[in-house]
């Protein structure tokens, strides 16, 4: 079975700073894959490389068997055009730390925007599905609210519905609960838990160790641009093998 994501020696630098120093990992379909580590360890950058929001400098990154951002012919790599990159991103949903909802559109408008513009669905069909999706994240009654009128937790749930509207085969979560008040974290994690139980492949950058332990199928601890330790969440979190992992976990648990 082709892995949903396969990274081979992925390197990424911002100017002189090397952020990713050779990442190798595989994410299986229907897996919930958690990325943890201190800030600046490169976990968010790696996530953004998966849908080509960042270009990698060396190595290879495949999503569902397809090279991300480039086309390989023999030994040569060709950069993909804007349109082709956009097409690759359609199947990859992303949820951001700061929600990034479109403030000039209602909740339903946010959810139906991409289906209408990118998939050329009819507005009525897209709206119908948007309402269904908002119902699913518990916000059916907020369909006509603007993001500024919603709480952080509600905004993040709309953002998840917006990503789901493109029917992605892979969902990327970039610290989805880090910008939320503690009491609002639960409602977002509940939606993610449901999504995981329905078999969605998810890569989650998170500091919620409880969520990782309970929902995650595998977990990778990153530090300073490398994978320090990986395995089943319960093992890594319960019995860390590396000193660096132990000291990090002792601070966050």
């Amino acid at each position: 079975m082709t892995p949903m994501v396969r990274a081979e020696q992925v390197h990424k630098s911002f100017g002189p700073v090397e952020v990713l120093k050779g990442i190798d990992l595989q994410v299986a379909p229907e897996e919930v894959f958690c990325l943890v580590g201190p800030s600046g360890s490169g976990k968010s950058t790696f996530l953004r490389c998966i849908n080509h929001l960042e270009e990698i400098n060396a190595g290879r990154l495949y999503v569902d068997g397809t090279l991300v951002g480039y086309r390989q012919q023999g030994e040569k790599l060709y950069e993909l055009r804007d349109r082709e990159v956009a097409a690759q991103r359609r199947d990859i949903g992303m949820v951001f730390q700061r929600f990034n909802l479109f403030p000039h559109m209602t909740a339903a408008g946010n959810v139906m925007e991409a289906p209408v513009r990118v998939k050329k669905e009819s507005k009525s069909a897209a709206r119908e599905r948007a309402v269904t999706l908002l119902d699913r994240v518990g916000l059916g009654d907020k369909r006509d609210s603007y993001p500024a009128q919603l709480s952080g937790g509600q905004q993040q749930r709309v953002a998840i519905a917006r990503a789901l509207a493109m029917e992605p085969k892979l969902m990327l979560f970039d610290e989805p609960t880090s910008a939320l008040d503690p009491e609002l974290v639960g409602e977002v994690l509940d939606v993610m838990r449901d999504l995981a139980s329905e078999g969605m492949t998810m890569i989650v950058v998170t500091h919620e160790m409880g969520f990782a332990r309970e929902v995650g199928d595998s977990l990778v601890f990153m530090d300073d641009g490398v994978v320090v330790e990986s395995g089943h969440p319960r093992e890594v979190l319960g019995n860390p093998q590396h000193e660096r992992t132990r000291s990090f976990l002792s601070k966050v648990l």
């Binding site: 804007d82 359609r90 990034n100 990503a163």
Partner: protein, 333 residues
Amino acid sequence: MTADRAGQAEPEDASPSPGTPSPSKNTGPGKTTVPPAEIRAIPVRHYGRYLAALVVLALVVLFVNALASADLQWSALGEFLFDDQVLEGAKNTLLVSILAMAMGLVLGIVLAVMRMSKNPVTSSVAWGYIWFFRGTPVYVQLLLWFNLGLIFPVLNLGPIYKNEMTDVMTPFMAALLGLGLNEAAYMAEICRAGIQSVDEGQTEASQALGMTSAQNMRRIVLPQAMKVIVPPTGNEFINLLKTSSLCAVVMFEELLRKAQNIGNTSGSVVELLLVATVWYLAITTVFSIGQYYLERRYARGTSRQLPDTPWQKVRRNLFTWHDRRPAREGEHA
């Protein structure tokens, strides 16, 4: 404790004894509580303000008095305000201003996008355009367009179009090009500021959904940039409307030129200048009101509640005008 003390308080307490915490309605079950008395203090007298008001009023009276004694034929003012020629001029002023603004807006967005493009050729050309048109006076630009026929007697666009330059470069064309191309340079900078004010996360979100750069610009970035672009654009338009009076030098029959023509033949020079003034003020006032509602429209979604319209404000102020007492409990909510 609070409830006990408050319960014993005399009904005639004009001022609660110092140190007593103000009792609230829910302090104790079954106890009667007395709300603190409203503050009725004697306001500070601002003598400086009275003096300033007097001085300013005196100056206004002097000014009105001077106007009344001026050798002005007020009847001429009324007579020419709706003169056909004046109306024609006002129409031309409005027409050239709106068209030049439309031209400036479209070209300005194109220039802003060019300027921000990664292509060094397009960005330097946009830079050069802005450098030239912002760096030279509109007056000179108008004259340059008007006299283009002196260096290019024939406009020859290959097989598409060919004509005498004097036939093409009418006063209207010179006015439109002079104002519109100059405006584009200013609008380019306003649009660039607006586009750059939109959070990068918005572009990332739309890219992650599979939207192309063009879709991102049209659907996500520009609508949000409008909030930053509209207010200075309103100012630009009002400026443009007034600058259009310079088009008199290229023989364009706009408001000021018409007014001056009538003034010179009828001898009522100042009266006609005042007629033009009234028209300029009337037009700019109408557009200022329009600008206010346009800004309100683009504030949608960015604030939880839209600001009141002036009319709503007036109504609210009428009801609260005399109520200068501090808000009582329950009115905060």
